[in-house]
Symmetry: C2
Subunit: 317 residues, 2 copies
Amino acid sequence: MQEKYSIGIDVGGTNTDIGLVSANGTIVARTNFSTSAYSDINLYMDEVAKKVKEIMSANNVAEIEGVGIGAPNGNYYTGCIDNAPNLHFGGNLKVKDMLEARLGVEVVLSNDANAAAYGEFVYGGGKGMKDFLMVTVGTGVGSGFVVDGRLVHGHSGAAGELGHSILIPGGRQCSCGRKGCLEAYTSARGICQTCRELRAEMPNYNGVLANVADDELTSKIIGEAAAQGDELAIKTFEQTGFWLGLACANAVTFSSPEAVFLMGGPLQAGDVFVEPLKKSFKEHLLNIYHNTVDIRMSELKANDVAILGAAALLKNK
Amino acid sequence: MQEKYSIGIDVGGTNTDIGLVSANGTIVARTNFSTSAYSDINLYMDEVAKKVKEIMSANNVAEIEGVGIGAPNGNYYTGCIDNAPNLHFGGNLKVKDMLEARLGVEVVLSNDANAAAYGEFVYGGGKGMKDFLMVTVGTGVGSGFVVDGRLVHGHSGAAGELGHSILIPGGRQCSCGRKGCLEAYTSARGICQTCRELRAEMPNYNGVLANVADDELTSKIIGEAAAQGDELAIKTFEQTGFWLGLACANAVTFSSPEAVFLMGGPLQAGDVFVEPLKKSFKEHLLNIYHNTVDIRMSELKANDVAILGAAALLKNK
């Protein structure tokens, strides 16, 4: 009998990553396409289904156990993506139903960061832990809580939206329509805004980012500049680390986790980001939590954890 | 055979309340004394033990099942109160061991707000809910989370310190040593500080609070002034409600509760406090949580819930 495979899908604001996952948790093949190129949910779901069939066919897999999807504002109970601020599709999207109709297999949906937390729990640094928190930093800022050995879905099915806790009341405009959310400060977009604001305050700055147009700045370019010792880039990550460390310390007051795991593209900047983050976390941590919790990097490859977590959700409904 | 009674104790920064609780969850007798009058933990524990024996004797109860204690920074796993900023006793206090030695019965300790949440869960508005949050407003601001039908203790045993999440980075000095904690704004003390600050900004104010000395202001006096329509008092509760509503909306992003229950002395001010709080909560709530969560008042008497919750912890270790 053929080995049972499953599909894990990570729906990001920028890209959609699809992986064919073996029964033992290995991603044996993967593909991706641009999420942001689609504004019609039906055409987008057609493309998802097409890519799933292609990856199965290319790997001689005739049958799959099902599809797990991690998506921004993905609701575990309803199977809908609800008004995700980082996706071009508005409204409540019946993603589970739409994909089940196209593929004829079971589909399970969850918040993308919840899926990542679940991946870390089953395959990564969270193995054996009962209480931890995963924070994902990318186009948005997401989170997933594992409490007493179980993923928290909450009453609505949409628990774990740390990125939309308000860090600075009345602060920066967030894509969700409110002001001052953590995401507005420490997402890839937030990092770019911080860089632009700091640059405007440094009239004599003449470094590698001096001539990068506002709309061409990316967290990747800033990360590369920081690696070269650029003053503006380093300041940008210091400020971002300060904010994210503060938010992680706040999160600890809720569930008292053993670890706060971090993952996502901007963290590739390394120590220039992570050291100020750890410093701020320690400074802002309530004394009773000292020596009970660490900031840790995800132990899974950045591009693997969301796919593995999504696929693993299938086995753990 | 005699009915089994238990003792529930609520250790507050100001008062210690002790209740004799029947097997069906009725407080059949109660007593209290001043916590803040004691600075030596041994003398304080002697007084606790003395009061417990007195209340048993006065009610002809020869034997109890045990004692449940809710206390600031009370740790469920270790049985210690760890550096509670609102208590005069410093350090790590082995409260469970100390009281077991004095009484010869089992003692269970938890965070005071966790105990209150547990009381609401077993006896109050949280009956039948799987996910809710209790926020207690008094000398400090505490919280307890029930997630998927279970009280959250976390890795350290000290989960649920919403009062020490940072609301305004770099803001007011908090008794915990850090700056900007929710507690510094919305505890009884925080409410008084807000009132003083607003009064200083109103040079023409001539209301009932005009001649109350700074150190004689209490949240109770301000609440009474608000009931009489006093402008300064009303503004004070509007501002406090704004902050607490924002903090409750932030808390929803973590566990997506079905309700946020509130309890504590300052809430006796009523609508003048609760209406701005609900307005701010709604304004600051992420859109995906609309219509999934309500702000509600505790359904138990303000002075009962902590005692009942503490006593109930005995049965649910």
